[in-house]
């Protein structure tokens, strides 16, 4: 049962085996959470949106056209949900408050606390969280989820050339964040 493809699981769920949906959840929960956390930049929000996404996807499974991969379709839901969450008024106000609080050096607290004990990956995540949500999304989809530029363009609903530009800019921005926070030694 564990080695079923996404489509086989979907067929099984559509035939009434609702519990098989947990296989899909297990398959995508960590990666989708990584993307959401980097976009919404808050663990509680990311968890809430992740739950919403899986529930939404479950009830929309019937409308899933098998032309694209399930992962592309699902990440489109994830990306749009994150954008919707971020565009909420309340969220904006909270973000502004947070950015005012942390304006001087958002990484300073975590680094001074336990700078050397932090793993590279955690530091990188902290640096990526500093990027605007579009950049964070593209960089995560490209490197962590291993999507091609074509697939990313379908997920975030833009052209392939725009994705490439976003990827260039996000890498350059990330390099700047790393250099601003003096993390070159730890990361590069």
């Amino acid at each position: 049962m564990k080695h079923l493809s996404d489509i086989e699981i979907i067929d099984s769920v559509l035939h009434g085996n609702t519990n098989d949906y947990s296989l899909l959840i297990n398959r995508y929960k960590h990666k989708a959470f990584s993307l959401l956390l980097r976009m919404v930049k808050n663990e509680m929000d990311a968890e809430e949106v992740l739950q919403d996404c899986f529930v939404k996807a479950f009830f929309a499974l019937k409308s899933f056209k098998r032309k694209a991969k399930f992962s592309t379709w699902f990440y489109r839901i994830v990306f749009n949900s994150a954008v919707t969450k971020l565009s909420g008024k309340k969220r904006k106000i909270e973000q502004e408050m947070l950015s005012i609080d942390n304006d001087e050096n958002p990484l300073a607290l975590s680094l001074s606390e336990d700078k050397f004990a932090k793993e590279k990956s955690e530091l990188l995540t902290l640096a990526i969280k500093e990027l605007p949500e579009n950049y964070a999304a593209v960089i995560t989809l490209f490197y962590l989820e291993s999507f091609s530029c074509e697939e990313i363009s379908k997920i975030i609903n833009t052209s392939v050339s725009n994705v490439k530009v976003l990827l260039y800019r996000s890498r350059t921005a990330l390099k700047e964040v790393i250099s601003q926070k003096h993390l070159e030694k730890e990361l590069l």
């Binding site: 949906y21 947990s22 959840i25 990584s34 968890e47 992740l50 009830f59 990956s121 260039y168 350059t172």
Partner: protein, 169 residues
């Protein structure tokens, strides 16, 4: 000497350069320490990003999602059943009103002879219903019966249309 822009460096990392562009860039890197160092930085960043690990989702999220799904399925089913009953009642109401009107209209139009007993029975039932509605909603100053029937008809149409939309959805 013109240094490579960051966009060009990015294109170089992604292998988006044509062969002549690549050769020219390689040549430039051999001659320019600044660009060569920048390239090393981008390569290091590229490798770092490739090596990154996913963030673990909170524990128990899977069961929380499955619970939400089953709760929603339950709610949807309850709503569907309730809506189905309501639509059936109102659908029967429409059928009754249309049938009654059709019966009266046909009788007048074609002046066919209906057995006296049936006419009496229908009229009696009609009057009973009318008096019941008048008792409930009041006889004066409005014509309660006609208004009630009209409202009932509009509501029935609304529910039937909503049901049709839900089925299509």
């Amino acid at each position: 000497m013109n240094h490579l822009s960051e966009s060009e460096l990015n294109r170089f990392i992604d292998n988006d350069f044509s062969l002549p562009e690549k050769e020219a860039a390689e040549k430039h890197f051999n001659e320019c320490d600044v660009c060569s160092a920048e390239r090393q930085l981008f390569i290091a960043l590229h490798s770092l990003l490739k090596e990154q690990r996913e963030i673990t989702a909170p524990e128990g999220i899977e069961s929380a999602i499955m619970k939400r799904i089953s709760r929603k399925i339950k709610n949807d089913n309850t709503q569907k059943t309730f809506f189905g009953v309501v639509v059936t009642i109102f659908g029967l109401g429409i059928a009754f009103i249309v049938g009654l009107l059709g019966f009266q209209f046909s009788a007048k139009l074609f002046s066919f002879s209906i057995e006296e007993k049936i006419v009496q029975q229908v009229n009696q039932n009609f009057e009973q219903l009318k008096s019941f509605i008048n008792v409930v909603f009041g006889e004066k100053p409005t014509q309660s019966f006609e208004i009630t029937v009209l409202l009932f008809f509009i509501l029935s149409l609304y529910f039937v249309i909503e049901k049709y939309k839900a089925i299509r959805h």
